[in-house]
């Protein structure tokens, strides 16, 4: 097997996040020896985790210049580590921080790259990756002969490595940033203005709100405010993440009553995100299945809809409840609040 390197970014407290531990597990799946590289302001705890997982060597780039996710500094650090390690296969978690630089790093190394990898196997002593094309419409298994080969694994696709930290002897890699690499400064993090947290990548449940919530209900009236309360109560009670189809987050321009809790960040599938959660509950999504292709990554899927013949019944959900979502969710919320 080629020389494998796991690259991770240390969290602010110096440890490794869940996504990095998943990538670590993915790399270990390749078998054989591997090295690790870690980047961050403080990296000791992370390096110990990597050593504990069996990294033969741990390379590190540390210091305040590397505290914030920034293209110029992160790409320079990852490039230097990969070169120091003589890496042929580089595995990392497809976090926003790594995704920003991964392809640039591959380019600098003269290598190739695959991202959003959801499965990893070894055949003929080489990795075979599983990844999706055309917004989750088709799944490919592929390999490459070229090295280095950068493989970004999607968070949520592998079980995180669990084990005790070891004691790392970090091989510090010197990276000096010129002024040109500091033209960008990260100044902070902003949370959406709606107040309530509705996107939780770690949640057990994804609640998919369909366009039916904002349509006229059987009494001939709109009940959008009531819908919003039911949805937010559920998201709050179940500590769920909230997703929606494009049609619902796009409604702002139509001048009609809209669910104010939804933004483009909540969009699932098509031009939205593709979150992975163990459970998913789709509500009032009649006919929207083709729009919500991100649904494919939900393990257990249930739906509530008024029509027993809707697309969700055609092999897309485990259970379809034919009922009024307003009535059901009110009771569900009461039960969850108990």
């Amino acid at each position: 097997m080629s020389k494998v390197l796991v690259i991770a970014f240390a969290e602010q407290d110096g440890s490794l996040g869940k996504a990095a531990l998943e990538a670590l597990a993915a790399a270990k799946q390749l078998g054989g020896e591997f090295c690790a590289g870690v980047i961050g302001e403080k990296i000791d705890a992370a390096a110990d985790m990597l050593a504990g997982a069996g990294a033969a060597k741990v390379f590190g780039v540390a210091g305040s210049d590397f505290a914030q996710p920034r293209y110029a500094s992160d790409a320079a650090a990852a490039e230097a580590i990969a070169k120091a390690a003589g890496a042929e296969i580089i595995v990392a978690a497809g976090t926003s921080r790594w995704s920003r630089v991964a392809a640039g790093v591959a380019h600098r190394l003269g290598g190739q790259i695959d991202t959003h990898v959801t499965g990893l196997a070894v055949e003929n002593d080489a990795p075979v990756v599983t990844r999706w094309y055309y917004r989750q419409r088709m799944m490919a298994q592929m390999t490459r002969a070229a090295r280095p080969w950068v493989i970004s694994v999607d968070p949520g696709s592998f079980a995180a490595w669990q084990g005790a930290p070891g004691s790392a002897s970090i091989e510090a890699v010197d990276v000096t940033l010129g002024d040109a690499a500091k033209r960008t400064q990260v100044t902070g993090v902003r949370t959406p203005s709606s107040g309530q947290q509705t996107i939780r990548p770690e949640a057990d449940v994804l609640f998919v709100a369909g366009a039916g919530w904002t349509k006229k209900q059987p009494d001939g009236q709109f009940h959008v405010a009531e819908a919003e309360k039911l949805i937010l109560d559920f998201v709050d009670n179940a500590k769920a993440s909230l997703g929606s189809s494009k049609s619902l987050v796009d409604q702002k321009g139509e001048g009609q009553a809209v669910l104010t809790c939804l933004s483009h960040l909540n969009q699932v599938g098509q031009t939205g995100s593709t979150p992975r959660h163990p459970k998913g509950l789709a509500t009032c999504c009649h006919g929207e299945e083709p729009h919500v292709v991100g649904w494919r990554f939900i393990t257990e899927r249930r739906a509530i809809n008024l029509d027993a013949n809707c697309g969700w019944a055609q092999g897309k959900a485990d259970v379809l409840y034919v009922a009024d979502s307003f009535a059901v969710m009110e009771k569900v919320n009461a039960l969850l609040a108990e």
Partner: protein
């Protein structure tokens, strides 16, 4: 004028000058623009004639199409392709996806294997005779293969086309020529008049709410001024209809006969024996008035569908439900079982043909294609005819441009209408014009009438009564007389309307039609057909294009035929009564609501209570 309309009228509109403004990119416009583009430039690349609006340049020719792409929202066809081949003598079907020469043509008379079909006595007698003699007849799977196809219906030297793919092919060549521009996603709301002269068109307002009132990003539709406006916006196009309202129809002409055609494009099951180029025409089932077709494309793909005409006097005529029963007729299902839906769509067909011809030209405008009465109702052919009308207009326009003559009514009549009168479109249209009249009095007389007109080349025909659809449509009580009591119907109506549902399923179930069992592949719910097949979508920011103009008429209407017939379930019954609800995002722009209104406008006996205006969105499949 509504408040929204007043607001819109007050706004400051931008204006743009072009030489020729065209409305609607269909086969007629394809013929017009292809012929025109070839004549506008000399071989050395210099303009053959000069633009009046941009001196030194060739004439600026702009075509606005309401659909979101040039290949969306049209239909599969079998055509003799005479005019197409005149324009493209070296036409190679292999260059156009889903195009194939016709290799085999069959006409099937379908018997009713269910027993729910509403068959008059003569048809039942004929059915009985066929069954009794089936051992001696070409009979199988409840269908009789008619041993010959009348010459006037034959398409054996023709082509099978997906009009969507054909339009893309034509459009791409046109745009690559750089001589004309075709802009999709650009609904044209109305013609611009100066007295009786058409001086251009107005595009639909954008950034408006459902009612048309300005909203976020309001942009008033631009006025496009042109010396000539070419109208090819089809049988339900708002520009053509507005001109008819303004200047009326020629004496004796009317558009009272219509049909809605609905079809699916399917991947045939593996091992299907149908060969590319095969054409099946069917009649007799699910109701005698409903005709069907199945065309086999290359690659084990087929288009199949039905026509529901305005003389099928059923106030709960749901094309979708009838199509599902038709697809499952044993004679078709033996080919289609296991097929998968690829595409779906519906459109209105103007069945008055030559008799529905409006004024073809006037000061500043000319009309081509189906909306101009070119469809041949005897041969069931429209695309080739439409294309021909476009080429005839282009020849006339080039002549006028080169002679430096203005686009007056007189000049256009000499240059275009005269060419049209001498063409085969006119001659064959005249033969056909009375061919459908017999259907006004029922299926059997209809068939006799068609045969008479066809075999006598139009010299003999059965007379029709010329009634408009709203004059014909019976009440549900009349339609179901003897099978369902008025009380029973009222109960069903109340139940359905309280849930905002239409009545056709409940009525058809009671009249003996079996419930539809979905197979999840081809036999799917109407909504799945819309999304998975038609890929129906609509951009925000446009007004509702289906407008119920007279709420009191809707209040009094007992049939709600607009909702029953709606091809996309976009019109639904309002549980509170009164004006039906309209969901623009589900509309496929077939326009069936417009001619299926059971009421008559207080302002014109030629109009119902529904206005079908310019709208964006609709089908997003290019395979229809």
């Amino acid at each position: 004028m509504s408040l929204a309309e007043q607001n819109a009228a007050d706004v400051d509109r931008q204006c743009m000058d072009v030489d020729i403004a065209c409305v609607g990119f269909g086969p007629a416009m394809g013929g017009f623009l292809t012929t025109l583009a070839r004549g506008l430039m000399n071989e050395d690349g210099t303009p053959a004639v000069e633009s009046a609006t941009m001196p030194g340049m060739p004439p600026q020719v702009i075509c606005y199409e309401r659909a979101d792409d040039i290949g969306f929202g049209v239909s599969g066809v079998v055509t003799r392709a005479r005019a197409l081949r005149e324009t493209f003598p070296d036409l190679n079907p292999e260059e156009i996806p889903l195009c194939h020469p016709v290799t085999e043509e069959q006409l099937l008379y379908l018997l009713d294997p269910i027993g729910a079909s509403r068959r008059p006595l003569t048809v039942r007698l004929a059915d009985g005779a066929i069954k009794a003699l089936k051992w001696a007849l070409p009979y199988s799977d409840h269908a009789l293969r008619i041993p010959f196809i009348p010459g006037f219906m034959e398409k054996h030297d023709g082509l099978l086309l997906s009009l969507g793919q054909f339009n893309q092919w034509v459009g791409n060549q046109l745009m690559a020529s750089g001589t004309v521009q075709v802009w999709p996603s650009s609904p044209v709301s109305e013609p611009l008049f100066e007295e009786k002269k058409v001086v251009g068109v107005r595009l639909a307002d954008q950034g408006v709410d459902k009612t048309g009132a300005p909203d976020a990003g309001f942009m008033p539709g631009m006025d496009i001024k042109a010396a000539l406006t070419v109208i090819g916006d089809g049988p339900v196009g708002p520009v053509g209809r507005r001109i008819d309202d303004e200047i009326g129809m020629p004496e004796g002409n009317h558009q009272h006969d219509w049909a809605v055609g609905m079809k699916v494009v399917v991947d045939l099951p593996e091992g299907c024996e149908l060969k590319p180029g095969t054409v099946l025409h069917t009649l007799g089932f699910p109701e005698p008035e409903i005709f069907g077709f199945l065309y086999v494309y290359p690659g084990n793909v087929a288009a199949a569908g039905i026509f529901v005409p305005s003389w099928f006097d059923n106030p709960v005529r749901s094309t979708y439900r009838y199509m599902q029963h038709w697809l499952q007729h044993p004679a078709l299902w033996k080919h289609l079982e296991g097929a998968t839906l690829r595409s779906w769509g519906a459109k209105t067909i103007q069945e008055s043909g030559r008799r529905g011809e409006p004024h073809l030209a006037g000061d500043g405008f000319a009309r081509i294609g189906e909306g101009s009465g070119s469809t041949n109702v005897l041969t069931n052919s429209g695309v080739d005819e439409a294309w021909k009308t476009g080429t005839l207009l282009a020849e006339g326009v080039l002549e006028l441009l080169k002679d430096g003559k203005p686009f007056t009514k007189e000049n256009l009549e000499a240059a275009y209408v005269a060419r049209r009168r001498e063409s085969w479109v006119e001659q064959e249209g005249r033969v056909a014009e009375k061919a459908r009249d017999g259907f006004q009095h029922g299926f059997v007389r209809g068939m006799i009438g068609m045969a008479l007109a066809g075999f006598t080349k139009g010299h003999m025909a059965l007379g029709g009564d010329g009634r408009s659809p709203y004059q014909r449509v019976p009440t549900i009580e009349e339609y179901a007389k003897g099978k369902l009591s008025a009380e029973e119907i009222e109960t069903l109506r109340k139940e359905a309307h309280a849930k905002g549902q239409t009545l056709h399923d409940a009525i058809m179930d009671r009249l003996g039609w079996p419930a539809i069992e979905y197979d999840g592949k081809l036999i799917v719910s109407h909504q799945d057909a819309l999304l998975l097949g038609g890929k129906v979508q609509a951009q925000p920011g446009y007004a509702d294009h289906v407008v119920f103009v007279y709420p009191h008429l809707c209040e009094e209407c007992g049939t709600k035929l607009c909702a029953e017939v709606c091809s996309g379930q976009a019109i639904t019954v309002n549980p509170e009564g009164g004006v039906p609800l309209f969901d623009r995002e589900k509309c496929v722009h077939c326009g069936a609501c417009m001619w299926n209104c059971g009421s008559v406008s207080p302002e014109s006996t030629e109009r119902g209570g529904i206005e079908f205006r310019a709208g964006a969105g609709g089908l997003h499949s290019a395979e229809n």
